[in-house]
């Protein structure tokens, strides 16, 4: 035991570190070698009205679906068979994951991405980074192509204009939102009926309703997915837009000075902080969306903010007579810039065709099939939601929640707002998530909360390495 090995070797281990650069000279450098451009750009087949992108009939197609609230059945049972009717020889591989980034980002880095991706969910890839690197195929030809059902109608005319605005990066339309997400406060129509509660029209009524529910002792008034506070900054931002108009959100998106600390934002943050302090279900901060939504299904809590995917997401735990309903954010003051019924809507389930995939023509054709009346209608029915294809839901049997959401959209008309900073600036999103959780649990005052987000926004604005977007 004179000189134990561990004592010598631990010391040597450090000296060894100094040798590393020398060894480097020996090692082959394998940093991303510039690759030959992908062969996909060569158009293999002549285009025609029936085949506007020149799809090779036998070329395999690889599709990745985000396996979230809508599941994957719609891709396998609706879209794939429809595509197959036209291209029976094509091998279609439908894959799914909940971790889009983890699974697919390396494929992009490796230059062999799949042909179609539903880049959605909490772990979706950063569109900004993909756009910046030219990884997204230009989908303008898709917009200008004839629709699947009717050669005289262009795909462009089927879509809500918001889809094109939201899907445009650097002036190029490259992301196709397939679902029209409608955000609001969700409740059980049965529970409200049984207890004589009314969906509130003004913020005061909302507070009174919370108080009534709290006093009734039957359930907690309000909750949100505490583990994912993005569920709460959504109504916070929407309320601010309702108070101060859509430019409140545009300024935030554009990283304008003082956008976060504007007066409407202050009012909204203070209003929600009050809800956080008084009316939250116990334990909210540590629960995720499924846990809180399941609590609502069990009548443990009355209201929660969510989007129109909710009903489908909860289909296995919802009692048959639960009757989902949704109401828009109430009027905050008598002088809100936007009228009652204003909604936050946003195209979601974002489909992209990677520019460096093996079969981008097939990818676009697949999207064209998805946008057919049949595919979109079947989809709406299957997953109980509203698609972006105009009129696809006509004559379909809608579930109570989807019907309630559709009614709200119709009532809102042009009074819809949206924001995009969270997809453009992932760091700002993470900061907002962290800070919103703190706001709701009382760790941050509304002013401190907004100052903190403003600081992060300013930081991003000043960081030359982060690509900026404008709307």
């Amino acid at each position: 035991m004179t000189d134990t090995p561990q004592n010598i070797t631990r010391r040597q281990l450090l000296r060894g570190a100094a040798l590393v650069p020398v060894a480097g000279a020996l090692a082959a450098c394998a940093t991303p070698a510039s690759k030959a451009p992908a062969s996909s750009s060569a158009a293999p087949v002549a285009t025609s009205a029936a085949n506007p992108f020149g799809v090779a009939a036998d070329k395999p197609l690889e599709v990745w679906i985000f396996d979230g609230g809508f599941g994957t059945a719609y891709a396998k049972d609706i879209h794939q068979p429809l595509f197959k009717t036209k291209y029976p020889q094509a091998q279609i591989k439908i894959e799914s994951t909940k971790e889009i980034t983890k699974v697919l980002q390396p494929r992009f880095a490796g230059g062999n991405p799949p042909d179609v991706i539903d880049n959605s969910g909490a772990n979706a890839m950063d569109f900004g980074a993909l756009a910046q690197d030219g990884q997204l195929h230009d989908l303008t030809p898709l917009l200008d192509a004839p629709s699947w059902d009717d050669p005289n109608v262009k795909v462009r005319d089927l879509l809500d204009p918001a889809v094109i605005e939201i899907g445009t990066y650097d002036g190029t339309f490259s992301v196709l939102g397939y679902v029209n997400y409608i955000f609001g406060i969700w409740y059980s129509q049965k529970a409200f009926r049984d207890n004589g509660w009314q969906p509130p029209k003004t913020w005061d009524e909302f507070l009174k309703l919370c108080e009534t529910i709290k006093k009734s002792g039957k359930m907690a008034p309000f909750t949100y997915a505490g583990k994912f506070p993005q569920y709460l900054y959504e109504p916070l931002l929407t309320l601010a837009a309702k108070i101060g108009g859509p430019e409140v959100l545009v300024n935030i998106d554009n990283l304008e000075d003082g956008a976060w600390t504007s007066e409407p934002m202050k009012q909204s943050a203070a209003a929600w902080a009050e809800i956080g302090a008084k009316y939250l279900m116990e334990g909210t901060a540590g629960l995720d969306h499924v846990q809180t939504q399941t609590a609502q299904n069990k009548y443990k809590v009355a209201m929660l903010p969510a989007g129109s995917w909710l009903e489908n997401e909860q289909k296995t735990t919802t009692p048959a007579d639960f009757e989902y309903g949704m109401f828009p954010l109430p009027d905050f003051t008598g002088s809100d810039k936007m009228p009652y019924g204003t909604l936050h809507t946003s195209p979601g389930e974002n489909f992209i065709v990677p520019a460096k995939g093996a079969n981008p023509q097939g990818g676009m054709e697949y999207l064209r099939a998805m946008l057919s009346k049949k595919a979109a209608g079947d989809f709406s029915e299957l997953v109980r939601t509203v698609s972006v294809v105009k009129g696809a839901g006509e004559g379909r049997q809608l579930s109570p929640g989807a019907a309630s959401a559709s009614k709200a959209v119709t009532a809102a008309g042009a009074n819809t707002v949206t924001y995009r900073w969270q997809t453009w600036y992932a760091q700002l999103k993470d900061e907002a998530i962290a800070a919103t959780g703190e706001l709701m649990t009382g760790g941050l005052t509304p002013d401190k909360y907004l100052e903190r987000l403003q600081k992060k926004a300013d930081e991003i604005k000043g960081d030359s390495s982060i690509k900026k977007f404008k709307r």
């Binding site: 991303p32 505490g226 334990g283 540590g286 629960l287």
Partner: protein
Amino acid sequence: MLFQRYRRGLFITAFLAAPVTLYLVYVISPYIQAFYIAMTDWRGVTAAPRFVGFENFSRLFSDGIFWQAVRHNAALLVLLPLLTIVIALFFAFLLNVGGGTGGLQGISGSKLYRVIFFFPQVLAVAVVAVLFQQVFRPDGSGMLNGPLMALGVKPIGFLSDPDIAFWSVLGVMVWQAVGFYVVLFSAGLASIPRDMFEAAQIDGAGRGSLFFRITLPLLWDTVQVAWVYLGILALDVFAIVWVMTDQHGGPDFSTTVMAAEIYRNAFSYFRFGYASALGVMMFFFTVGFAIISLRLSRRERIEY
């Protein structure tokens, strides 16, 4: 003779070729490249990263979240070894020497305890992380909060309260680590001649002085090894934080660590250049820790 030398040389080359090649290709070359990538603005998808010199490093110094992560690692570096070693030493002593019955072989049932204490060590960290996510649930369905709420206590936000979450992470790490060090210290104790304890006891030494006068000094070398292992564990922690905590290192970044920030910057923000720069910092911290611990242990040896 020449033939002998030739044979010897051939043998050395043959035996070293495969391991050295594998090691250079898969370990050394990525590390070298990482140092280069740290000086680019590479976002992971483009073919030709742009060289930006030390820009990433100057940006890093004003990155509050990264330094928060560094502070958490530093806290773990002190607390994880301290708690684990104290608890493990205590149990090892009880199990091997301090038994109240029989001779000096320790408490009855000590073998069983040693087997059970080791359980957490054989579970994958990812499994432990998922398991404790459930144990720590914030409502009545949580293993810990269920009984608390039944007693009328307000539920504790083990993972959702930013003031508590870090301690939960530390607790789980200690939970998993203790068993191994109980066994390690037990093995160390077994190599101490029994006569020393017997003699001390006959001299009237109590359990406390048995521990401090004999056990601890003779185990000191082993304790140092444990400290280095646990220190590296504290600097390298990733899976527990990434899998178990809310928002991967939250809430409000209250549990984040260097490795999580590297992973976040690389695989959620696609800032591979910046992430590599963070990795280089982590590399220097690790090497720094190793140098310091060697210095200390060397001084220790001279005094000994």
